[in-house]
Amino acid sequence: MVALGEEPGAVTMTLGGRLQTRLVLLSSIGLLWTLAISAVLPRPGGVPVLAAFRITLASSVAMTVLGFFWELLYHALQQLRWDKDWPPLFGLVTGLVEVVPVWWIVRALDILPDGCTALFGVHFGTTWILVWLITLGPISVLQPRWRFEGGGFSRRPGDALATFVVANMGMVIALVLLWSVW
């Protein structure tokens, strides 16, 4: 009863909502953040600023693309929870797991000069925490529907395609920038 204010609150993600949120946030706020800090991240002398952009943009793209697989796993794990939710703390600590394959990819691409581990780590960590903090509430200020739609951005469940296209714009920009600094 409402007198006791009993309720499930906060956002509880659907699979579609998870994917949309990952894509939209990483390719908007995540990308802006990446562009803003890449030049000022700690890097050893002799490493050009373009190399820094290459590392941060590549790990941003990897974080997003790999995220699609991670989200499938998280959604499966969520099924084991009675509340079918994903507590905020999980959203934070999964970053410690996700950083590993992104690190492998950046290493495999051979774009990480010696001494740039801190650059990679600071970029990944700050981007992760920023996006996580935004999902804890501020995102609703721009999209009041988001938390009621299981993390989806579409006004109606059927509008997902338009959202997908819009959300991808940021990712396209990231890929073009990455290609141009390569």
């Binding site: 009863m1 409402v2 007198a3 006791l4 204010g5 009993e6 309720e7 499930p8 609150g9 906060a10 956002v11 509880t12 993600m13 659907t14 699979l15 909502g17 969520q78 099924q79 084991l80 009675w82 509340d83 079918k84 939710d85 507590p87 905020p88 703390l89 999980f90 934070l92 804890l136 509430g137 501020p138 609703s140 200020v141 721009l142 999209q143 009041p144 529907r145 938390r147 009621f148 739609e149 299981g150 006004r155 469940p157």
Partner: protein, 506 residues
């Protein structure tokens, strides 16, 4: 309404008016009922009306086009009254999460941030980040919610929109829209409000009275030994502090938990020697269900943090429910809702101590043959399935078995059902996902409902802050499609939020 003539509608005239399936202006004029106008009317005036009106104001509907028909002077009055009766003091915590901010459609900043700010403490923030893994859910204090609702009500101009009255009936208007027939609180004079769209949020019809209690009261008149958890029953606690006694608590929901806490606190702090017999109709001995759908439980209680799993509020359970039939929804609601309480460490410790010290004991079964003996004590038999019933005695019975589910006990809703409003498989109002009562559409006018009366639709936790906000959003969105307002897109949402932060009118 100082310029309107005061007309008290005679009973016969009222009945004649109500017999018409649809009204027009001439019919009301013939009955000498004055008519006033509004674009949107919300009937109820509690938190359900507040949530819808708040959203509509933010979506750009002017206060001059909205009227709220209510008996109460403020939107939180009914909430505060029920909360107080069920042992929630102003400083106590609700069963609601930080972002279910009934006064803030965005949910951010939530109640945790508000409390951290007002109490100069980081604890609420730590809890909201680590819940429910490293700490229990953050839940706001009752007084925080009331203060926030008062602030928002003043901001959106609640008093300008409020018309204090009893709303009696909603009728289709010939030619589209609706009339709402109402009586003023002071002189009972009748008036009608002509509107394009209407919304009803009347809350629960009242506490549920169990048949045995009803029968007892019928035999003995007023019976102070039996108390309903949702009505004031302070005399029970006073009496138990004054002299040792045995109290039976019936029910296993959050209100029962609060009553047990109060009884234990009175033992600890005021030296009461109360013996508590807790009667469970369904005793939950442990977790129930397959691994992918297992609800925690133990010591008789089914545990979940909130009255429905969180995924029913907007996550995957709601997605599933959107695609279901009314019957399937009713089944799912029974399995994910029902009587549950929160597993709070404080309560767990209190009851464990009670069991150890033998002043708390759980009984499984049903109370039968409830009666009062010559000395004024309650006598009853406890029966559990096939086992022979055991006679028991107690000084008090506190009934915490819930609130009335029969929404047609609201005359206004009963009248709507007579006029064609459909009921769902749970016997509540059948609403669309937009919370419209589609069967009651009137030309371009639409009738909506939210709150307890709509349980059984696509949204399970309708009767909660979250549910009221969720339905308010869907109603606003639907009205935006009708051209009534503009659903807050990104820019509008941002600018309106900034106005909210600065406490400026929308």
């Amino acid at each position: 309404m100082p310029d309107e003539p005061a007309v008290t509608l005679p009973l016969a005239a009222r009945a004649a008016l109500l017999a018409h399936p649809a009204w027009d202006e001439s019919l009301l004029a013939a009955a000498a009922v004055p008519i006033r106008d509004a674009h949107f009317v919300s009937i109820g005036g509690g938190l359900g009306s507040f949530a819808v009106v708040d959203f509509l104001r933010i979506a750009g509907l002017e206060s001059s086009r909205i009227r709220v028909l209510s008996r109460h002077a403020a939107p939180h009055v009914s909430f505060a009254t029920l909360a107080r009766a069920s042992q929630l003091r102003p400083g106590d915590r609700l069963r609601s999460d930080s972002s279910s901010t009934i006064d803030n459609i965005w949910g951010w900043p939530g109640y945790a941030l508000w409390e951290a700010w007002t109490e100069r403490s980081l604890r609420p923030l730590w809890r909201v980040i680590t819940e429910p893994i490293l700490s229990e859910y953050f839940t706001p204090r009752a007084r925080t919610v009331v203060a926030c609702v008062q602030r928002e009500a003043a901001r959106i101009g609640w008093d300008e929109m409020l018309v204090r009255c009893h709303a009696d009936a909603v009728r289709r208007r010939t030619g589209g829209g609706y009339f709402v027939l109402a009586r003023r609180l002071d002189d009972e004079s009748a008036f009608a409000v002509r509107c394009q769209h209407a919304h009803i949020a009347l809350g629960h019809p009242g506490p549920r009275q169990q048949p045995d209690v009803a029968a007892l009261c019928e035999r003995h008149g007023a019976c102070p030994q039996v108390a309903n958890a949702y009505e004031p029953h302070e005399h029970v606690y006073r009496e138990l502090v004054r002299s040792p006694g045995r109290v039976v608590v019936r029910g296993a929901g959050i209100t029962a938990s609060r009553i047990l806490e109060r009884l234990t606190d009175d033992r600890d702090k005021l030296g009461a020697k109360t013996e508590i017999v807790h009667v469970f109709r369904h005793y939950v001995a442990g977790p129930v269900g397959p691994p992918w759908f297992r609800r925690p439980g133990g010591d008789g209680f089914a545990y979940q943090a909130f009255n429905f799993p969180r995924g029913a509020g907007g996550g995957q359970l709601r997605r599933r429910m959107l695609a279901m039939t009314s019957e399937q929804r009713a089944q799912l609601i029974a399995s994910i809702g029902g009587t549950t309480t929160a597993r709070r460490r404080h309560w767990q410790r209190q009851l464990a101590r009670g069991r150890r010290e033998r002043w708390y004991r759980a009984e499984v079964g049903q109370i039968r043959d409830l009666d009062v003996d010559a000395s004024g004590r309650l006598r009853f038999a406890l029966s559990d399935g096939g086992a022979p019933a055991r006679p028991c005695a107690a000084d008090f019975l506190i009934d915490a078995t819930g609130l009335e589910g029969a929404i047609t006990r609201h005359p206004l809703i009963a009248d709507l059902v007579d006029r064609g409003a459909r009921l769902n498989a749970l016997g509540r109002l059948d609403v669309e996902p937009s919370f419209e009562l589609e069967a009651m559409r009137s030309g371009a006018g639409r009738l909506y409902a939210s709150g307890a009366a709509t349980l059984g639709g696509a949204l399970a936790p309708v009767d909660s802050f979250w549910g009221l906000m969720h339905s308010a959003m869907e109603i606003t969105d639907d009205l935006a499609d009708q051209g009534t307002c503009e659903f807050p897109g990104m820019m509008r949402s941002l600018t309106q939020w900034w106005r909210w932060v600065r406490n400026r009118a929308p």
